[in-house]
Structures are given as C-alpha cells and as structure tokens.
C-alpha cells in the first residue's frame, strides 16, 4: 500500500515542500533581458503603450488593459524596449505570443508615480478597485485573473465575504507558505485594503494544518493589526482543498452553483499572494512586477523560493539554483498534479508562475501501462466534484454527449485526483481535459439550434399574423364598396 489515504473527495499526498522552504526568500539574479507576454493574465491581451527603442523606467506602465477583462503591465527594470514580437511563453505551453522585450540597463531607475501611494481608507471603494487595477494586480494563485475585474463582478448589496486562500494544497509549491511566514503583515494589509474595496464585512484567511510556522506568523500579524473583521481558519491539508470551490465548501459549508461564481453565494476568493501584492502597490507604490517563485525538484541542485521579477527567464532562475542535476528529466510550471510540462526553459516567468519543478524520475514515479478500467471506484471516492470518473471514462468511447452531460463532465475541475489513484493507470484527467471543450461545443450547438428554431417559429408566426391582419384590413376596405346602399 502506498502512503496514500483515500478520503471522501480529495487526497492526502506527500507535499514535497520541505526542500524549498529551508532557506528564506532570496532575490533572483537580474538578467539582461526581460520578456513580458501581453496575454499573461486571463481575458484579453493588454495593449502596448511603448514601442521599440523607447526608454522605460522601472515600474513604468508599458501596456494598458484592453476593454473588458484585462490588466495593466509594468516594466520590471529600467532600460530600453528592444522589441514587441512573439516570444515563447510558459502559459501558452511554449508557443510564441506577443511580448514586450526590455533590455535591462542595470540601474533600476524608478518611474515617478505620485498617484501610486494612497491611503486606501481615504478613497471610495470604487476608486480602490480602479487603483488596484492600475497596479497590474492579477490573481497569483495560478489562473492570473485580473483582480479588479473579479472585485467589480463580486460587488453585492451587503458586501461579499472575503476569503483569502492560503491553502497551498498542490505538492511542491511553497511560495505562499514562505510568503505567509515572512510577509504576513503584507497579507493582512492587503486583506484590509480588499475589505475596503469590497465593502466586505469580514475576511477569512484559510491556511492548511501542516504549516505551523506560517500559521504562527500569520496569527501574530492578525493580532497586531487588531482588526476584528479578520479571522484565520485552519483547514485540513488535503489536495485539492485549496481549489476555490473546494475551499469555499470547507470554510463556509456552502457550494458555488455549478453555473455560477463564488459571488453568487456572497463570497470572493483571493490568493494570499494577491493580497500581499496589493499591499506593496498601495503602501509602497510597487506595481506587480515581481512575485515569489518556488524552484524545486530533484532536477536542480538547490531548491528555494525566489523573489523574481516578471519576465526573468526560467534558465536564469535554474542557474540561481545551481543548475540542473544529471537526473533532470521534466520541466513543470505549477504543481505536480495540475502543472503544465514544458519542452524547454527559454521562457519568461509570468505573473502566473508560482512554481517551477525540475523533476527527476524520483519525483515523477512513471506511469505504468494503461489497463482497461475495472470500475473499482477509487476515482469516485477521491473526486472533489463528486463525479463518477469511471462512468465518464466509459461514456467517452464512443463519445456519448448525453450521458457525459448527465454525469457532469463539465463540472470536472481537472485536479487529477482520479488519475492519481487509478489502478489501471488511465490518464483520466487528460482525457477529460480533451473532452470538455468537445462536449461544451456540442451542448452550445444544441442550445443555439434550439434558439434558432424558436426564432424561426416566432418569425413565421409573426409573418402569418401580419398577413392575416393585412387581409382583414383589405377586406374591411372593400366591404363598403361592395355593399349595396339601401
């Protein structure tokens, strides 16, 4: 028996975090070039404000949000824009995407922005949201959703409850843990700014039960702030307890509707890293131009957490960690459960880069030969969305869209728990990831066909009615002529 414990939804798995949390946060080396992809956040790509050969200063805005969901981008260094061209990006699995390339002049001359530092209590919540947007703040938990957009869509009558997610459940990632240990005050400051921006009555900071040092630091910071609205909630260290929907279920004992958002049940969830980034922006005027990145795995000589400027090449971070070991075999951005595997390291750190795993065969435990499903049901025991992965798998071949929809394929969060426990070694998460867009498209086609039918029927009825009215009118006009006068 492996060291696993099956629970009703979720897994207790080896965290692999000790190696990267031994040393404190260190600053990553500066490099000559910084590559800033314009589409590194969810939503629409940002629109460049600079052109090649422009000189930029550190923290200067270099791209503004497109209308809709988008975010500001700032220069992490001072220097010169040398190109705006497609460059490989990690969030595009190494495919090129339009990026601003900046040559570092090494002087870190700051962009003077008098309006940056504000006392958030003095401004209205709406202004606070706008201000947060101006800092280029996006969710640092991995999805990089623009924070201001999320705040705006979450505003509700009495203010939503704020949930700060410090439950870093994925194996290997420890950037939030060290952040909570070393910069708990930033988190609490950010929490208060968010409470203000949301008109929110209270804030819950969720933290896992296996990080006592971070808990202690956070408690100290919360006590020091003496803000009665902020409380700490310890949650069990179960993967994927830190998933937004799962965490909300754990903390508030309420479920987010399958077709809705946390805001629908009056909750806004933000990562603790996002809160700290907001604190740095509002308090120090530093926009989101750097983040903590965990570099770990048996494939690097030394593991650690690095304060890394956005745009730093992966290879530079790896060099900071003493380079690859001979056992290096797979490069992963994110955790070992949901991270994406990358073909090369000539990629920039983006706002969503929480962790880089240089994995060796020891970390990976190669998958065995895929066997047929024996319907053992281990997968359904660990599925945090309460799905039956064994049935979904059955209905994938051949693709049975009705049954897949009935069994909730679109509710799969792709956490990989089912994969992890499958004795037949079936790559279930991968199959579901591939099938979800197909099913969504098919359901959309059904919906639009229904809508088209309804519009067609309505039009025909309207035309028939108009025709009838027209005839009636004609008949009325004719009648007086034909009727004999008496």
């Amino acid at each position: 028996m492996t060291a696993r414990e099956l629970l009703a939804g979720g897994l207790r798995i080896e965290a692999h975090k000790q190696r990267s949390t031994k040393a404190p946060i260190r600053a990553a080396s500066l490099t000559e070039r910084y590559v800033i992809p314009l589409d590194q956040h969810s939503g629409l790509p940002a629109v460049p404000l600079v052109k090649p050969s422009d000189r930029v200063r550190m923290w200067q805005p270099i791209a503004q949000p497109a209308p809709g969901i988008s975010a500001w981008l700032h220069s992490p260094v001072s220097g010169e824009v040398i190109a705006i061209e497609p460059r490989p990006a990690p969030h595009r699995l190494g495919a090129p995407t339009l990026s601003i390339v900046i040559a570092n002049d090494g002087r870190d001359r700051r962009f003077e922005n008098a309006a940056a530092i504000v006392s958030f209590e003095q401004i209205s919540p709406n202004e606070a949201c706008e201000h947060i947007a101006r800092g280029g703040i996006v969710g640092l938990g991995g999805a990089a959703f623009p924070t201001a957009n999320k705040l705006e869509s979450s505003l509700c009558e009495n203010g939503p409850q704020l949930l700060l997610n410090g439950a870093e459940c994925e194996p290997y990632i420890s950037c939030d843990e060290v952040l909570m240990r070393e910069r708990a005050e930033d988190i609490v400051f950010g929490a208060r700014a968010l409470l203000h921006a949301l008109c929110s009555p209270n804030c819950t900071i969720a933290i896992e039960d296996d990080v006592p040092e971070a808990q202690a630091a956070l408690r100290q910071a919360v006590d020091k702030a003496a803000d009665p609205r902020i409380r700490i909630k310890v949650v069990p260290a179960i993967y994927p307890a830190g998933g937004e929907r799962q965490l909300i279920a754990t903390v508030f004992d309420a479920e987010v509707p399958h077709d809705g958002l946390p805001a629908d049940i009056g909750v806004v969830c933000q990562n603790v890293g996002t809160a700290a980034a907001i604190a740095r922006w509002i308090r120090d005027g530093q926009p989101l131009v750097s983040r903590i990145v965990t570099v770990t795995g048996d494939g690097v000589s030394e593991a650690g957490n690095w304060e890394t400027r956005i745009g730093t090449p992966f290879s530079s971070l790896i060099a900071d960690c003493g380079g690859y070991t001979e056992r290096m075999s797979r490069l992963i951005m994110g955790g070992s459960m949901m991270g994406t595997s990358l073909a090369h390291d000539d990629l920039p750190v983006v706002k969503a880069t929480n962790c880089i795993i240089a994995a060796s065969a020891l970390d990976l435990q190669p998958r065995g030969l895929e066997m047929p499903c024996i319907r053992c049901g281990n997968c359904s025991q660990v599925c945090p969305a309460f799905l039956l992965p064994q049935q979904l798998h059955w209905y994938l071949q051949p693709f049975d869209s009705d049954q897949l929809a009935r069994h909730g394929l679109l509710d799969c969060i792709e956490c990989g728990c089912c994969d992890y426990v499958c004795p037949s070694q079936i790559p279930l998460a991968e199959r579901f990831r591939e099938a979800k867009p197909l099913l969504a498209r098919e359901l959309d086609a059904h919906l639009s066909a229904d809508a088209a039918r309804a519009r067609f029927v309505a039009r025909n009825e309207r035309l028939a009615r108009l025709e009838a009215e027209h005839r009636a009118k004609l008949a009325q006009k004719r009648r007086p002529k034909n009727e004999p006068t008496s």
Partner: protein
C-alpha cells in the same frame, strides 16, 4: 536544453490491476487453507486445473482478439475467477467440470463481452451457473467435513488426483459412502421430508453456527474479507448491504415460523454467503458503481440469495442472485448518479 512533455498529473500513486488481484488472491488463502483442512486436498487440484485452464483460455482469447499477452496474463484476474469457481465445486468433482466451467467463464462470459473491465456478468458465477444447470448431480457430490465424529473416507493425495482425473473413486470406496450433502442441501431435503427445523438440524453435519466445518471456512472468509476492507481493495457497501439483507430476510421468516425457516446465523455461515459478500458480489466490474448503487446492488443480492435458497430448487442462491443483479446494474447505475458539486440537492 529540451525536455520531454507529458500531461498532468505528473506523479501518480504506484498501483496496478495486478496488485489489486494479487491481494484478492492472498485474502482467499485462509478460506482455501481451511477448506483443504476439512475436505482434503481436492480443492488444490481443482484450483491448479482451473488456473491452468483460465490462463490457457485467456491466452487463446487474447490471441484471437489480437491483444498483448503479457499485461493481461499477469493481471491475475483470470486466476481469481478460477479460484472462486473452484471454491464452489465439490472437491472431488471430475476434472472436466472445473475445466469446462472455467473455460466457459473466461472465453464466453469474459472475452466475448470485451475482456477485462467489460464483462457485465461475474465470469466465475456464469461458469458456476452453467455447470449447475448442466451437471446438477456432480455438483451435489460434496464430502462430509473432516473430524467431529462424522464418518469420512480418507483419500491420499494420489487417490484424490486419480479420482478427479478419472471420475471414479478408488475401488475400496463408493460415491455413496464418500459423499454427503451440504448443510443447506441437507436442510432443504430434511424439511421437504416433513421434519421440523429442530429434527432437521439434528443431523451430525450441523454445527453450532451453520454446517460443521463450513462455519470455520466461512469465518476464514470473513477474515479475508475484512482484510480486503482494511486494505481498501473493496468498500463496505456491498458486503454490508448483502449480508444485512440476508439477516433481515432470515430474521423475519425465522420470527414468523422458526419451525420451517432457519435463523440468520445459519444463513450467514452456510453456503457462499460470506464468500459471495466479500469476494464475488464485490467484483467491481460487474457491480453497480456509485456508493448508493452498491447498497442497492448488495441488498438485491442478499434478498435474492435468501429467496432462492429458501423457496428455489438449487443448493445455494448466491450465484443466481449475483447474476440477476449483474443484469440490473445498468438500471441501478442510471438512477444512482451522485449529486455533483454545485448542483441542487
């Protein structure tokens, strides 16, 4: 520097179908050991014959279906089928019984439907049902359990093998002298002859709980089953529902008329109740798949087992009960999809 890429998750638990099947086989060992203690080495010969047949049939089917040999021959599922079927057969049953039953189970009940993971019916129970319908006489030739002042003809290992292979006993013995009905069978026959329950259970083959010897074998099965539960190879829903249903049915009828109906303890420790609950009905491939579905499935098997045992014409009801419930699995699965996160209760 370039690296190979792969889809997430990047690390998975080290588990395999083979490991699951091996643990099931180990968990059956106490049952097999006690069986041999009470009924002689016949079972071992049956298992060897059955396992060999299972592997040969499996290989043949894989060959015909153009599937790779190694992973499927090594997964152990054919061996589990063979052992379960062998446990259901009388220890001295002629060789062609176990061979034809196992071959039928593997070739028709398993591979005709698509092999491992695709068989709607439990292969071992299909094999057993076919034998029971085709050769009822041979399947009733059970032996009396050893020890405990019951007459038992001692056969050496050589004589056992010879009996199984030739189908005839050593010249010093006759079938009538060697065989004895199973407790369930004996009870049925005695009750049919008009005896009361007390008279019927006075026969020497009845022990404190169920049948002599049988009660111990069943306790060994219970131990193996609990080990499977502990190791999370099976979950509690099917065994608890099935045994619970048997106890409820038996208690109810026993309360109505203790003179005609045997009590719940007798039903639990006789026949294949425990083997069925922990090792046969829990075969996940042919069982319902959600927790609620498994409760319904298990309870259905329990009720049908009791009904067939008590009012049917066969020595035990487990095999047919399992097959009947296998038949209703698609229906059960359809109506027991669990509530999904974020959907209305």
């Amino acid at each position: 520097m370039t690296f190979p890429t792969a889809p997430a998750p990047h690390a998975v638990a080290h588990d395999s179908v083979g490991r699951v099947m091996r643990i099931v086989i180990y968990a059956l060992l106490p049952t097999v050991a006690l069986h041999v203690m009470f009924f002689g080495a016949g079972l071992l010969v049956q298992i060897v014959l059955g396992a060999a047949t299972a592997l040969i049939s499996e290989a043949l089917a894989l060959r015909l279906r153009h599937k790779p040999f190694e992973p499927f021959l090594k997964d152990g599922s054919a061996i589990v089928t063979a052992i379960l079927l062998a446990l259901c057969l009388p220890p001295l049953a002629p060789w062609w019984l176990v061979v034809s039953g196992t071959a039928f189970a593997i070739l028709l009940a398993k591979h005709l439907y698509g092999g491992l993971g695709a068989n709607p019916f439990n292969p071992a129970m299909v094999g057993y049902a076919v034998l029971l319908v085709s050769f009822p006489v041979q399947l009733l030739q059970w032996l009396p359990p050893a020890g405990m002042d019951i007459e038992q003809a001692k056969l050496s290992m050589g004589e056992t093998i010879q009996t199984i292979l030739t189908g005839s006993l050593p010249s010093r013995l006759t079938w009538d002298a060697v065989t004895s009905p199973t407790p369930l069978d004996a009870l049925r026959t005695n009750l049919k002859m008009g005896m009361t329950m007390a008279e019927a259970q006075a026969a020497p083959i009845f022990g404190a709980l169920g049948g002599r010897g049988w009660e111990w074998i069943n306790l060994a099965t219970l131990a193996g089953g609990l080990a499977l539960l502990q190791l999370r190879i099976i979950r509690w829903h099917i065994p608890v529902a099935m045994l619970g249903a048997i106890v409820v049915c038996a208690s109810l009828m026993y309360m109505i008329d203790p003179g005609t109906y045997a009590g719940p303890i007798f039903h639990l420790t006789s026949g294949a109740s425990l083997l069925g609950a922990f090792f046969i009905a829990t075969d996940p491939i042919s069982a319902a798949t959600s927790d609620r579905g498994r409760l319904i499935y298990g309870a259905g098997i329990g009720v049908l087992t009791y009904v067939i045992r008590t009012w049917g014409g066969y020595p035990d009801g487990v095999a047919f009960a399992v097959l009947l419930m296998n038949l209703s699995v698609p229906l059960i699965d359809r109506y027991t999809i669990p509530r999904i996160y974020g959907h209305a209760r």
